[in-house]
Symmetry: C2
């Protein structure tokens, strides 16, 4: 990805770059989490490289002061996203000191977690490779030790983020020399101010909530248990019951970690079926945050009983293909 002359405007260079993409170019999502949710100038310094870099599209940034944490949502090609990430992570490391950091969310580093998500023309295996090679380069350039998680985990027990982050920065500082806590990349000592970073590959996560017409939290909890993997439900669903007190409703709050295997409609209809056993109706559902078109089109296909439907029949998806393709 060579840059055209720097006197182009950002807009034009970005579209120019996009125009150079062939249909086979890869598209990923990346959702880096930084341990800063309060100081706006630091947040700005972290986010700026994502805004400037062509081929890296900043979809969302959420800074939470209570958590003292910044979550950024990016889409683009692996190359530009990695370059922007290196700039952004160096800014975070410069400005954030874990020795001083307090916040409501568990963390072990200034750059806490970086998950890569395959979106198009990239397998999960390709994304795992990407995460691991980025992790090595990140360590070389910053000195921060790296742990690999989820699909990119090298030690099977490290698939779960909670295992790596146990006791947070403060505990890891003491325990990092123990065999079970040794980093996957780097010497067994934390970066003196930036701690360590967890890097990995995972599928696109769809946050899906179903609200039920009752105030009885036990109904939502019982249904969450029926739906989620940890108590025997769908293999790629996490879920809890939550009270929506102001509305007098309860919610089955679900994360679908593989929407291709556990479709939204299937989760909804199971919740509906279980709710009926309590005489309770589904009031509404909610997709929280971003969602791939395929996840909703699959539910449309199911309910409309569409046969032989091809996503390239959708004008906007076709247009995106054409913009990214060799013919335009």
């Amino acid at each position: 990805m060579e840059s055209p002359g720097s006197d182009y405007t950002t807009v034009i260079t970005k579209a120019f770059w996009w125009g150079k993409m062939s249909m086979a170019r890869q598209l990923i999502e990346c959702v880096p989490n930084f341990s800063e949710g309060r100081r706006s100038e630091v947040i700005e310094a972290i986010v700026d490289p994502f805004r400037r870099r062509r081929g890296c599209f900043l979809l969302d940034q959420r800074a939470d002061p209570d958590h003292n944490r910044l979550v950024v949502s990016l889409v683009g090609e692996p190359g530009p996203i990695q370059e922007a990430l290196l700039e952004a992570t160096k800014a975070a490391i410069r400005h954030i000191d874990l020795e001083q950091h307090r916040g409501g969310h568990p963390r072990i580093g200034a750059v806490d977690v970086i998950p890569f998500v395959p979106l198009r023309n990239l397998t999960m295996e390709g994304c795992v490779e990407l995460a691991r090679s980025f992790g090595r380069r990140y360590h070389e350039e910053t000195g921060v030790p790296v742990y690999f998680y989820e699909e990119a985990a090298i030690r099977p027990e490290r698939r779960g983020l909670e295992v790596i982050r146990r006791g947070q920065y403060e505990a890891l500082k003491e325990e990092i020399t123990k065999p079970e806590r040794l980093p996957d990349v780097g010497e067994p000592r934390l970066h003196p101010s930036a701690g360590a970073t967890v890097i990995g590959a995972r599928k696109f996560l769809v946050a899906f909530n179903v609200n039920l017409g009752t105030g009885d939290l036990e109904v939502a909890r019982s249904i969450a248990r029926a739906v989620r993997a940890s108590s025997g439900g769908f293999c790629h669903v996490k879920g809890i019951g939550v009270a929506l007190k102001e509305r007098g409703l309860v919610q089955v709050s679900v994360n679908i970690v593989d929407y291709e295997k556990n479709a939204l409609y299937r989760v909804l209809e199971l919740v509906r079926m279980e709710a009926k056993r309590w005489g309770v109706e589904v009031v509404e559902s909610e997709v929280y945050g971003m969602v791939p078109a395929a996840a909703l089109l699959e539910s449309a296909s199911f309910y409309l009983q569409l046969a032989g439907f091809d996503p390239s029949q959708v004008i906007e998806l076709r247009l995106l293909e054409l913009l990214g393709g060799d013919k335009g």
Copy 2:
């Protein structure tokens, strides 16, 4: 829309153009119909300008030898589409002689019909203006008389294409001097070889078929009558019953001419309800050809009971916005 240097490749100039689009730039569909479905070199001459012009995206071209007709589907900005249309229509007028033309589909001109469809950042009123100003310019540059139809009709009775095309080229040649058949633009005489052209504005048309588990055509016909506007059904639906003989099924074949007012799910559920009265089930449905994302997302929203859903939550739609926007 000025062209960048001609030594750019088509791909890059197209994306370059796209990059220059602001969020407020307009997007239209255009589906011109030409009276040539057999001679491949003529078809190629007509279609070539659509391929070459940046900002004009050729989604589909269907040449039917029996109909002796070519239907082209374009998406893009009004400016580039109009420029490409002028080139393509001049090629069609050069090569097609209505005096010699035979085919199964009704027609009055070498360039028979050009509908403009608003897709984004353009109202129907804006699209009507576009159709009428394009019609005047087309007449000036080609000498072909123009009739305006559908939303762009100047005479209310000309909303229907069938009224304008009554008796086809051969009858219109005799009757064009009659007051009720005078063209909307141009003198009351046909172009000696290219006839006349119908130009208009309409909403995006969704072709939607529902297959029923019976061989009884009367069931499909009866349900089509319940669903379509002409016999008292939904105001923006046309429909007929069709036998699918090889499969032993029947089909309710529907055109939804305003999918925002008559949603796909509502049509399907009405068909399902009526079919039950005959003890017949819906076997499957089918979206034929292109469809706007919103049409399917609305059905997904309905069945999933999604509350507060915003299409910009869909990654691909967001990406398209960003590519077309000032930030990238």
